[in-house]
Amino acid sequence: MSLSRSPSPVPGGGWTSPGLNHHSGRTSPVNLSGGPVAWDSAKMRNHNINGYPSFAPQQKTGFFARHMRRLSSNLPRFANSSSPYGHKGKQARGPWYGPNGSLAQRIRSLFGRMGRKLKMRLLVASIVLFCIIIFFNSPLITYWRRASWGYGGEKFVIILGANVGGGVMDWKGAREWAIERDSVRNKKRYAAKWGYELEIVDMSTKKRYAHEWRESWEKVDYVRKTMRKYPNAEWFWWLDLNTYVMEPSYPLQRHLFDDLNKHVYRDINEYNPLNITHPLTEIYLDDEAQSPIGDNKANSLNLLLTQDCSGFNLGSFFMRRSAWTERILDMWWDPVLYEQKHMEWEHKEQDALEQMYTSLPWVRQHTGFLPQRKINSFPPAACDDGTGKVSTRHHYNGDERDFLVNMAGCEWGRDCWGEMYHYREFSYWLNRNPWERFKEDLVAEIWFKITGKRVKL
């Protein structure tokens, strides 16, 4: 320590000239250890150029701040550091540093005075705490969920078709913006939670498509573009804007892909609203192409989609990166097919896919169907057969905690925003945390029983 400067007065410490006071004969521990600290604080304040003279009394506020020193110096202390209990056997423990030792010293001495049993217990407790923090409160869990060696989240990309009909052709109103905001936020949270990638694509009517044959065929192009953008991803999940992930706690892996064969049906005869003849029987086809279930291996499934009451539905479907997928994306739009069929193809890609599925054996062999409610539940207003009954095949069921709602066709005469809002709130309600459940299901109910009044907690 350099002594080139004269030391400054310290409140409570008096004149602590370090060169002089160690001869002063005082043996109180206050002074022994207080000296250097006072010197440090004096130095600090000298460096602090704040316009005040360095000996200005420090403005301490509060009772404890002002009287700390007096209070603490009245406390009993064990100056005899070597053996607080007088036992010779405890000599090995660390010395007592008093309240003014450095933090590390104090911890060390505290540790030295602990029993071995307590130490072990503390160790176990801290390890448990450490693990909890690491796994649930740190980016590590996200990292693990994303990693291909971990839970494999980066192998999934969600493609969300946003901005439908916006852009050049149409101004969006407040409701459209609200739908978009909610839908995007929902997918963002879901993707972030499980470490998936989210690709939001702009479905606005573009000039490139508006005056061409290919109007509103962007889905195919966007799937292809996204595949190029995420070269490490395996599965690509297309979602229309009017969808809502009702159960964000379901990871796709557990929900579907860990045991794909259990969920998928390949034989379209299981549910066949289009009456497609299946399997094919042409004599020139091999057994696999003539089989109703292809090779029935999970790894040969490259397209997973659902059927609603009127056929294929492309509001929510999966495609796996593969040579097959490249081919089908390439064949999806063909001018010769389009020229013959565009008057009939009301749903564009959807009808084209149905056409391909019907006529091309190689498409059938790698296509799998999922039960609709697995990834694509409808609200009761869609696929309504007129009776108003809720179908167990198509319609969302809250009790069974369906994964996703697709408000298909809500833009034709239904209230998209109303449905979106309803399902959003319902999803929040279903996924309340335990504290909210306690408040709302127990406390509020008891309160209701007692007072007869509903309260919102």
């Binding site: 250097p36 060390r108 071995r116 004599i283 020139y284 999970a298 593969s322 064949m331 056409q355």
Partner: protein, 314 residues
Amino acid sequence: MHFAYPPRKSSNPPPFRLRPSNLPLRRRPRLRTVLVVLFTFLFGIFLLSRRGSGPDPYHEHEPTGNPPVVIVTVVDPSKFSGSYIKSIKENREQYARKHGYETHIPNVDDYDLVSHHKSWSKIMAMRHALTKYPDCKFIWYLDQDAYIMDPTKSLTSDLLDSKTLGGLMIKDYPIVPPDSIIKSFAHLKSDDARLVVSQDRDGLVSNSIFLRNGDWAKFLTETWLDPLYRSYNFQKAERHALEHMVQWHPTILSKIALIPQRLIASYTRASLGAEYREGDFVVMFYGCTVDGERSCDSESQLYRQKWQTAFQAS
């Protein structure tokens, strides 16, 4: 020089040094404990990482090459004389026997064409051959108006092996003559080529093509047979359908090797394409009529003797 004061001591006496503490962790590690901890740790990592690996990735069936090539020809006995058809069949069969290949020669009527042109049956025959010989390496479709003239030439070693084919491929060249803006791929490796075709004056020669067995071959033949292609009334039916697919779909274009016509399809008519010269592998009477002066039957007479003597000599 002197000092007014004796040199000052530091006012910061060094703190007492800690004795070596007796923390349990500092004791000599026991081998067994270390092993148990290590094992638990590795097992945990294994459990965590096991989730990521799903089922094995998909692999298409790898043909073993038995037989190496299947020669496919669709014959139409209702149109042509029995002797002509017989000579066609014999020509293919003798050649195949010589090299250990197989033949698949169905009649047009074997396939249900609905109402479409008969020439669509060639694609069905190709697809059928893929079904019948799942382990063949190549399908060679050779139409019924052609003879193999050179029995010594082996397909696998003189044409389709990667080195020879690599040297023959015409790259970055308009795929449909004369001036299609779609050009054959410049960076295609011969092992990745799945369809080997040639051009005549008008377009791709769909009467003599080589198809490498695999998922792509099924994809091509089944797509080619798309009912909407068949119903579109392409002027030259399946031939124009192929040209259409090649020009519109990069997944097809990128697997096509274009080779000079005389290697696999020399014509007897110079006005239609490369003319047959002595020593060429194949002669095609492309454009021959069912009957009349330039019927396939009479035109084939000129070459029947030639190939028969050549086959006997070799």
